[in-house]
Symmetry: C2
Subunit: 334 residues, 2 copies
């Protein structure tokens, strides 16, 4: 059955069933004009929103609808993780052509609901509407953090070490493989693009050990590191040889003739966390974060004075500026 | 200049300037991974989200970009008003083709920021991205209300009076006029569609006087009244002659051969409030709400037993069921 034949009210009833959940802070969930959420004492609320559009962020044949539903939530959870906060609520708006199969939308919703359940996030609202173009998904996520504890982009200090979770460039390589019809070649790279995870545990651990600034890598390391440098008024030195990558990225780079460094610096959608820590404790503390979150954590460089700029410096001491832009949606400069 | 030439980072900087505001509950606004918002003691948070799409909800030539920016916020504020809450925060995501004029987006943002300032709402986040289709706007609004004070759809009791703010059918008639190239004929009808106001003051007043249930009329009275009846497990009797309308609606109906009752019952986008009150106090209390909010308030019917159904009953006692559906985005049954 097609969405246009089912109608908005019937679709909303089905979505309401899929998103049914009980969460102590949800006083009223889906089904009224707005959701009503409790405000725990001593906490601040953290909110973020992102659009996921067919033809820009995904093509329908790239993934299953469940993967799409999980991913559009994961990329929003990543923004909450990047503050060091715990996500609690999500709102999902779905626009689709009237000739979309109802099952496609319900599977998408099930993927969204599945990840929400995995992360104890309640789906409390949204909107459905016909679209004159392709599918458009808008997700808003809210969560809580102790008063004053959030990790901003603006807290990095000269001498801090720069760290990342996980591996860089896998998602960008995975997207490239899918676009070239080679999605089966390296399943871990493809999965990094189609099934990213928000590093919520690592974000919480970074708060606990006293990280000084944090962001998530959504537009590529080059671009997101610049955000921290601009907001903190500092420069940065990155050691290219220290950047963590999957052995399959290395294989794919050779096989397809790509530039590995460019993919790792400017490829978007890693959704790893990039954060800074007082240099003297970085080595010990990174093990604590890795242990608590189950994620690989790597020291990739150091925060420098503003005048230094944002530079790559090889072990032999030769340096160069980090390319200015990561992935820009409007310029598609990747 | 076109959006594609300016780039996402530069556009975000311009938007950040337009949305600059200071609001005591905003700890971190636009510019980090997520916004950080204070949680006042003794309050609950109220959140809602809506999509506004080119080709579905608007055509670009129908209105100025400023009107479009104001409207996409107003329809969301209406959902907060419908809970009886005070809106405090908004997030605006904008997707547009890369060949969109930057000035169009900035004017849209100025319209959004203007209404936000009028209503003391801080714009704390959002997203920008290219779109493969037309313009898509996703707005999320949050606000606060005293613990337990929100007016749900589920509180209507048999014997309650049914009330509405303002006039019905003007916005639907205004949309029809614009679509037929007659937008100049009745400026108040056109304005009702292009420049709706959220009835925030009336919503707050309804809480104060002890209203029992409330919703906003976004899909048409027939559909939104049914929401209250379904959630409250009751029926309703509406007196057609009591429904408030603009004298220009009457003129337009005659001139264009429309069915006035159908427009008032099933035309969407009025964004008036529909609420219920203990019958014995309705007459006095409606004057209090009208006085406090500056809005016309009209008693249009009575809550009945569930078995009664949802019916229109003329003064001569003849009755009929209210049409099942209002405006449905997927079925376009209007």
């Amino acid at each position: 059955m097609l969405v246009g034949g089912l109608g908005e009210e019937a679709l909303l009833r089905k979505l309401r069933d899929i998103f049914a959940s009980s969460e102590p802070n949800v006083r009223v969930g889906i089904g009224d004009d707005a959701a009503i959420l409790g405000c725990p004492a001593g906490k601040e609320a953290v909110w973020s929103t992102d659009l996921t559009l067919e033809g820009i962020h995904f093509e329908r044949q790239w993934q299953t609808p469940q993967q799409l539903g999980r991913k559009c939530l994961a990329v929003n959870l990543s923004d909450i993780a990047a503050m060091g906060a715990t996500p609690s609520f999500a709102l999902l708006s779905i626009a689709c052509p009237t000739d979309t199969e109802v099952d496609f939308i319900l599977e998408l919703a099930r993927g969204f609901a599945g990840l929400a359940a995995d992360e104890s996030v309640a789906v409390v609202g949204g909107d459905t509407t016909a679209s004159a173009g392709g599918i458009a998904l808008s997700v808003t996520v809210g969560g809580y953090i102790d008063d004053g504890a959030a990790l901003l982009r603006s807290g990095a200090m000269v001498g801090d070490s720069i760290l990342v979770t996980g591996k860089l460039g896998s998602a960008a390589a995975g997207m490239q493989l899918i676009q070239e019809g080679e999605g089966e070649a390296y399943p871990d790279l493809t999965a990094a693009f189609l099934e990213p995870s928000a590093r919520i545990g690592a974000g919480l651990a970074a708060v606990k050990v006293g990280a000084t600034s944090m962001t998530d890598i959504s537009d590529g390391l080059a671009s997101d590191l610049r955000h921290i440098c601009e907001e903190s008024g500092v420069g940065a030195m990155i050691e290219p040889a220290s950047l963590p990558f999957s052995p399959h990225l290395d294989e794919a780079v050779i096989r397809f003739g790509w530039n590995r460094e460019s993919i790792m610096l400017s490829g978007g959608e890693d959704y790893e966390l990039l954060f800074t820590l007082t240099g003297s404790i970085a080595e010990q503390v990174k093990e604590v974060i890795a242990h608590e979150s189950g994620q690989q954590v790597t020291i990739i460089g150091e925060i420098m004075e503003h005048e230094y700029g944002v530079r790559l410096v090889d072990r032999d001491g030769s340096g160069r500026d980090i390319p200015r832009h990561g992935y820009e949606h409007f310029q598609s400069s990747y």
